[in-house]
Amino acid sequence: MMETLGVWLAAGFTLCIFSFLYKDNPFYKLAEHIYVGASAAYMVIFVWSFDVKPMLIDRFIVNGKVNWSLLFPAFFSALMLCRFIPRIAWLSRWAIAFTVGIGAGIGFTMGLHGYILPQLKATMVPLVNVNNIIIVIGVLSVLMYFYFSIEHKGPVKYVSRLGRIFIMIAFGASFGYTVMARISLLIGRIHFLLSDWLRIIK
């Protein structure tokens, strides 16, 4: 019975959101505000269940031994929450600095070691077939298109123009995939309505 009620609830919310297609209306606004409120509360439960409890509270005392080093992240997490108190909001910068520093270090190592070096290596392919030639020309011409330290005239202008052609093809392909993605999302909801709710299809 609860499952049937759940399906009808889900279908009701689905139709409330779809009603926006006709025009903005109270049903859509109601559904939207319920969604935002519930999602925000979910974040709080998630942070407790997957961060605070397992990483801080449960690890603080293990087999009778106190893990004093956890006071450091606990302190910094408390500093993060100082943002809510205007007088001491500046303390949250220390916590933000920690996360930004880690993020910058990861960004540097990932960008260099994880992207540029492997991708440059993969571009250095023998020019023995048409595809490899197109790949090398494509990568170099696109890089030239975004190189603004010299004026785009003469040969640079033509290479840059070729890069633009490659970019247009890439954006066209991305556009095709984006259309595919959006339609897939609609297919999912229609399948739910026809199969789980109305039971017209299996």
Binding site: S49, K53, P54, A173, Y177, A181, S184, I187, G188
Partner: protein, 266 residues
């Protein structure tokens, strides 16, 4: 007039998706090389090898990625692989749990021995790098708080060296983090499944060998379903997908014809 035009377009799109569902047309789905490569990577693993599946999406991307997850789980079960689930998106944890419980019920899998759900940790790339040294530093318990060391499956799994392949199901940038760390830093294998929006951006990783397979969008999910011999939601969705694509192409053509005629009049 504009409002009416807009609503007619919306109605036509809705009908282009609804009507094919009602006719239950079956279709053959050709397998593309990136999906075949993903399938072969899992196929090459020995029985009992642990695989790590990362649920990096939320309900908004569920229609594309949930069928993909189910097909991959079926493949893993057929190969008798051990399944470890985790998530980088908090709203992905219940989706992963729902999928694995459906498969567990279907195939009689036992939690802790055949599959484990580690849950979610914030930190993104920091989690990925940290797990490369020791998984327990980040996940010392599963999503319900059960210590990982008490789960038989996890006893000999400490880092990526003990995992056959990592399978990331992506709706955002986490796929880039997996690809930029797993291969170059840890030499581990990676398969990426992604929404169609994200898929074009992941092709450079496939070409450079940073990932061993790429399953893109609902079409990729349909291909994988057919490879594991269990055509389901994604395969059924291919005909409505065709109809909607045809309609959008017609809209583009009509729009451009009107544009050319208007330009000529001016």
């Amino acid at each position: 007039m504009r409002g009416l035009e807009r609503r007619i377009i919306y109605l036509l799109i809705a009908l282009s998706v609804i009507i094919p569902f009602l006719f239950k047309i079956k279709t053959k789905v050709e397998i593309s090389p990136p999906v075949m490569s993903a399938y072969n990577t899992i196929e090459s693993l020995k029985e009992g090898t642990p695989v790590l599946i990362s649920i990096d999406y939320d309900p908004a991307s569920m229609p594309e990625l949930q069928p993909m997850l189910l097909a991959i789980l079926r493949h893993c079960v057929k190969k008798k692989l051990k399944i470890i689930l985790m998530a980088h998106w908090p709203l992905g944890v219940p989706l992963g749990q729902e999928a694995i419980e459906k498969i567990a019920k279907e195939y009689g899998l036992k939690y802790g021995e055949d599959y484990v759900n580690l849950g979610y940790r914030p930190g993104g790339a920091g989690v990925i790098i940290s797990m490369g040294r020791e998984i327990r530093d980040i996940f010392d318990c599963d999503f319900k708080g059960t210590p990982v060391d008490s789960l038989p499956l996890m006893r000999n799994v400490h880092n990526y060296d003990d995992i056959g392949v990592v399978i990331g199901l992506e709706a955002g940038s986490v796929g880039d983090w997996w690809a930029q760390n797993l291969g170059p830093r840890f030499g581990a294998k990676l398969i990426l499944g992604s929404t169609a929006v994200v898929t074009p951006d992941l092709y450079p990783y496939l070409a450079s060998g940073q990932c061993q397979g790429l399953i893109g969008g609902l079409r990729g999910a349909a291909e994988y379903e057919n490879l594991v011999g269990h055509p389901s939601v994604a395969t059924i969705g291919m005909i409505p997908q065709s109809a909607a694509h045809a309609l959008i192409i017609i809209f583009i053509i009509i729009g451009n014809i009107i544009y050319i005629l208007q330009r000529r009049r001016k």
